[in-house]
Amino acid sequence: MKTLFKILVILLSAMLIAGAAYALRRTDWGQSLLAKSGEERPEGAEMFTDGERPTPPDEDFVRDSASGFRLESLASFAKTLIPIALLIFMINTLPALFQSITRRFQRGPI
């Protein structure tokens, strides 16, 4: 019963967010915001009109083996993993590194 209540709270929160997004999308402001973000989206992102759609890369380039493995898949994994790995490194290592460097300079020359 307790778990059911918790699930309902989570679903209700999600529905509130979804409802707010849906209502916002219907407003003039929401529509102008979407139109603007559509213009600003860099080329290469998956959003083109039929005339703008770039030609797909050469099959030989993307196919890595006879089994049909596509390099694109690997690149897609890297596109997700690299930012995550960088963020983990930056947040966990850089402050400690910075601290050790400043401590070293506070001590003065050897």
Partner: protein, 172 residues
Amino acid sequence: MQPPAKPQNYALWKKFAIDSLLFVAFLLVFNTHLTGKTIHEWLGMAMGAVIIVHLLLSWNWIVGITKKFFSKLKAATRINYLLNLLLFVDFTLVIMTGILISESAMKTLGIELPHDEGWKQVHLLTSDWAIYLTGIHLALNWRWVIHTLKTLIRKPTIYLRGRAIALAGGTK
């Protein structure tokens, strides 16, 4: 007869397994080239269910911090809480827009939705944010990940022994 006792590391194993599953699903769902659109759509929706389980397992932390948010609290905890809130909003939007622009999953369920390019834009935008927010979420909880991994590698037998006793119907 007494119910079998829960093994010592059971909660930790459960949480770690769910989180690992969520991360693998996250990586797969972001790789549409590998999975194809149909699996992408079903996996995305299934991820929603796993996110609910993830939230249920962290319920005590969520409720505790929500109650104390405006009183004395560490800045790092407050930032972590706000980030988790943002992540929840973002994932809700990703899944909601994903359902709205679905091409095969909704059709299989017999639901026809009108094509809306606007929702696709929101889906792509919120998906991009999800990568960065998940990265920060993982980074802020990295110590827990490493600590849990070490504990589970060093003491796996506590869980396994507990499971064996539980399966045999013993009380430990």
